[in-house]
Each structure stands twice: as structure tokens, then as C-alpha cells.
Amino acid sequence: MKLYAKYFSMHLKSQMQYKVSFFFTTFGQFLMAFSTLLSITFLLDRFGGVGGFSREEIMLSFAIILLAYSVGEIFGRGFDRFPILIGNGGFDRILVRPRSVIFQVLASQINFSRVGVAVQAVLIFAYVIPGIDLTPTNIFVIVLMVTCGSLLFFSFFVLYAAVTFFTLEGLEFMHLLTSGAREHGRLPYSVYGEGVLKFLTFVVPLALVQYYPLLYLTGREENFFFAITPVFSLLFLIPCHAFFRFGQKRYKSTGS
């Protein structure tokens, strides 16, 4: 933990060396999330709501996915850039060091520019929070959604890196899980219909951190089980981690 803190301040300092570049990228990230927000605002102005959800409820589910995504990406960057690490032989150096592999990949990159996205998510929260009954339970549920969501997004990056062991280069369709989940998470996942919801419940458990707890938060479901569904999404970490370990065993260096 102490070592990670050291890496953290190192990455922060090095990215702050190029302030203009950092500002541009962070602003670009902000704009990217903002264009999704604008699109949803335009649609809601036109239609009022969708799938039985009001404007505030939709904004809330978007903010949760957005915040979870940005936190997951800030810390998961090392795994996102894994194809480069494999390609230039950097991973070989990691293997010979006496620290856990996962830890080293985790610490190899931290992407502070995603703070641009996180800021926006917080601003949307500020907009919808007045409409929510802020009981301690509800605060707990929101924190749980964001925390488990971040870990889930993080595990997508680990999965992406694990696939790289076999393909040696990044696969575009893995972006469906990351950027796709962010982009389409602008609406509660139930809006996309029964089939998509089932897929996002049992295969890629994104609905567990967004749709089901939202039902509890908005008083549609009284059962407390709906509030703690995000915890079950963490089961997804197990196969991702196992797959990464499996890939690591099969790893053949590309040379450098």
C-alpha cells in the first residue's frame, strides 16, 4: 500500500510536468462524457422519460455508471495499456521483480485525466441528489453501487489484459464492455429489453450495480436484497483474475 502511494505520487508528478497536454486530455474526456449527457438531455426533453423512469432517475443511473467507469479507468489504466507492455517486452521485466504481477501492472499506469469524467459524474449527482430521500440506507446503497461498479469496470480491464496474453494485441470488441457500458449505461439497462437485461444480470453483471439497486432507491422494490445486488457483481472478479493467471502461465515473451 505504501509502495502504491509512492507510485501514485510519482505518476501524478510526471503527468503534471505536461500541464497543457494534461489539461487538453482531461477536458477532452470531460467533453466525451458531456456529449453523452447532452444526448440524453435532448431525448428526455423530447420524451419526458423512458421505460417508466423519470428524468432524475435516469440521470442518477447515468451518474453512477459514469463515476464507476472513471474510477475503474483511473486505476485500471495499466491493464488497458497491457498490449503495449506485452509488445515492448516490459512485461518480462515485471516477471523478474519480486512483487506480485497484478500489483506491478496496476501501479505501472495511473490515468489522472479521467478525473474529467469523474467531475462530471459528481456534478450530475449534485443535480439529482436533492430529489432523493437521503436516508443513511440510501447513501449506503449509492456508495455500494459506485464502489462495486468501479471494481467491476476494473475487472473488465483485467479481462482485456488477460485476452492480450493470447492475441498479443488489443481487441476492439473488448471496448464494448468498457466504453459500451458507459455509453449505453446512460439509461437503466432494463430499457434495452428482457434479453439485454438477462445478459447484463447473469453474464456481464452490469445491471447488478445499476438497475436492481435503482429499483430499491426509487422505492419500486422494498426488498433489501435489491439494495445489495452490487455485492454479487464482485463474483465477476474471480473468473477475470483466474483467466489472467491462466494467461500468465501460458505467456511466451514476444522478445524485445
Binding site: 497543457v20 435532448f42 439509461l187 430499457v191
Partner: protein
């Protein structure tokens, strides 16, 4: 006089055709992505069909055609060979070549866009034409409209290339490629109707955007294809495409000539 451009086109075209595995993976992504968009619009359509600016079939056609032509029009496909040349300082070599730099880069960009689109469009059509009823891609054009559509696709590609040339020329100055490209890509993706079609914009913004170069990109051919643009509106939209293509090329050439006069070559 055009021979070097054709040679360049052939090289870039075959070069881009090499990445077939990447195209296949990308295809799957685009297909899933398009389907999610359609499902979302279907939900909004159930909410209130009257608030839709076009029919549901037209919206579906817009989205499938957008996915099919994504690599032709989308502005977030940057040509690494050009930004790399600027940032590494190899632009010095480009300048000694006996070929007009603007034309050379524009040909490079256009060829790789066309090559990638050739690989991706057909499979998307193959699936989208055979989907069950509300999600199926339908064609409602007659022969004359089809000809205008083809012309509009070409103009669209021209405007998109001329616009990305402006971004590359900016990068010559700022040397902050990644940030500028990201901001340009994100803003234009939204304004060209990449996230929601321009007819879904609020009225005031829509009027402004319709006159901007952004509407002269993917928006125009897609709305011709789905039958949203007809008669006078169609003529005006295609006219604006011609205008913006000419304007952006002239602006790009002037800016490029000026920035090359006092270029500082980076690196050694």
C-alpha cells in the same frame, strides 16, 4: 498528373486491407453497438411515437447505415502515419518530396477510410437486411435518389477529410496532438449526429448545426438514404455539402501554406 495520387491510393488501400482480423473484431463491436442504439430508440418510440421526428423504420435505417459507413465518415479515426510524421519531425522528409503535401495527405486519409469501409460495410448489410421486421434495414429510395445518395456519400467523405486536414494542420502548430484530436473528435462526433441524429436535436440548435460543416458530413447522405430529406431540403443540404467542401479545402490549403512557411522541425 494524377498518377502519383492513384499510386498512393493503391498503396494505402492494400495496406489497410491487411488488417482483416481487426476488421472482424470491429465489425462485431459495431453491430452490437448499433443494436443497443436501436433498442434504446425503440424504448423511446414506445414512450411516445408522436414525438419522433422521423418514423421508426427511418431511424433504424439511419443507425444501420451509420454503422456500415462508420469508418468512412467518423472523425475519430485518425491516421497515425500523418500525426506520427508531424510529431516525430519526419515532416521534413515529406516537404522535400515533389508532391503537393495537402493532396498527398488528403489522398492518404481518404484511401484508408475507403479500404476500411469496404471491409466493414458488406457484412453489416448482410445481417441488417435479414433481421426480423422492426429492426430490419429497409431501402425506400428510387433510382434517382440513389444517384444523389451516392454523390452525397462522396461529398461527405470529402468534407470529413477536409475537416480532419484542418485538425492535422493545427497539430503542426501546437504539437499537442492527442489532446486536440480528442477534443475535435468528441465535439464533431456529437455535432455530426454521431450519437443521436440531428433531427432529434432541439429546434434552435438544429437550425444552427444544419448550416454548419458538421451537418455536411454523415448526416446528409444518411438522411437522404432513409427518405427524411426530400425536394428543397435535399437540394439545400447537398448544396451546402458542395459549399463546405470547397470552403474547407481552401481554408486548409491557405493555413497549410502559412504554417509550412514558418515550420519548426522537431526532433533530430
Amino acid at each position: 498528373m494524377y498518377a502519383p495520387y492513384f499510386a498512393l491510393f493503391r498503396i494505402r488501400f492494400t495496406h489497410s486491407l491487411q488488417y482483416r482480423a481487426a476488421a472482424l473484431a470491429g465489425l462485431f463491436t459495431q453491430f452490437a453497438w448499433g443494436f443497443m442504439y436501436i433498442l434504446a430508440f425503440a424504448a423511446f418510440y414506445r414512450e411516445s411515437p408522436d414525438a419522433f421526428p422521423m418514423s421508426f423504420e427511418q431511424t433504424v435505417a439511419y443507425i444501420w447505415m451509420q454503422q456500415a459507413f462508420l469508418t468512412l465518415f467518423a472523425l475519430w479515426f485518425w491516421d497515425k502515419s500523418i500525426s506520427g510524421v508531424i510529431e516525430s519531425g519526419d515532416i521534413a522528409y515529406e516537404l522535400v518530396r515533389p508532391m503537393d503535401l495537402y493532396g498527398r495527405w488528403a489522398t492518404t486519409i481518404a484511401s484508408s477510410r475507403i479500404a476500411r469501409c469496404v471491409m466493414r460495410a458488406a457484412p453489416i448489410f448482410a445481417v441488417a437486411f435479414f433481421l426480423p421486421a422492426p429492426f430490419r434495414l429497409t431501402i425506400s429510395m428510387n433510382l434517382q435518389t440513389a444517384a444523389i445518395f451516392a454523390l452525397s456519400v462522396a461529398l461527405s467523405l470529402g468534407v470529413a477529410v477536409a475537416f480532419s486536414m484542418l485538425v492535422y494542420i493545427t497539430v503542426i502548430h501546437t504539437l499537442n496532438g492527442a489532446g486536440v484530436r480528442l477534443i475535435a473528435a468528441v465535439a464533431s462526433d456529437f455535432l455530426t449526429g454521431g450519437i443521436i441524429p440531428i433531427p432529434f436535436f432541439p429546434a434552435a440548435l438544429r437550425t444552427v448545426v444544419e448550416f454548419s460543416p458538421f451537418a455536411a458530413m454523415q448526416n446528409t447522405p444518411l438522411l437522404i438514404f432513409n427518405g427524411y430529406l426530400t425536394d428543397a431540403a435535399l437540394a439545400r443540404a447537398v448544396g451546402l455539402q458542395v459549399f463546405w467542401l470547397a470552403a474547407l479545402v481552401v481554408i486548409g490549403r491557405v493555413l497549410m501554406a502559412r504554417s509550412l512557411q514558418r515550420i519548426v522541425v522537431q526532433g533530430g
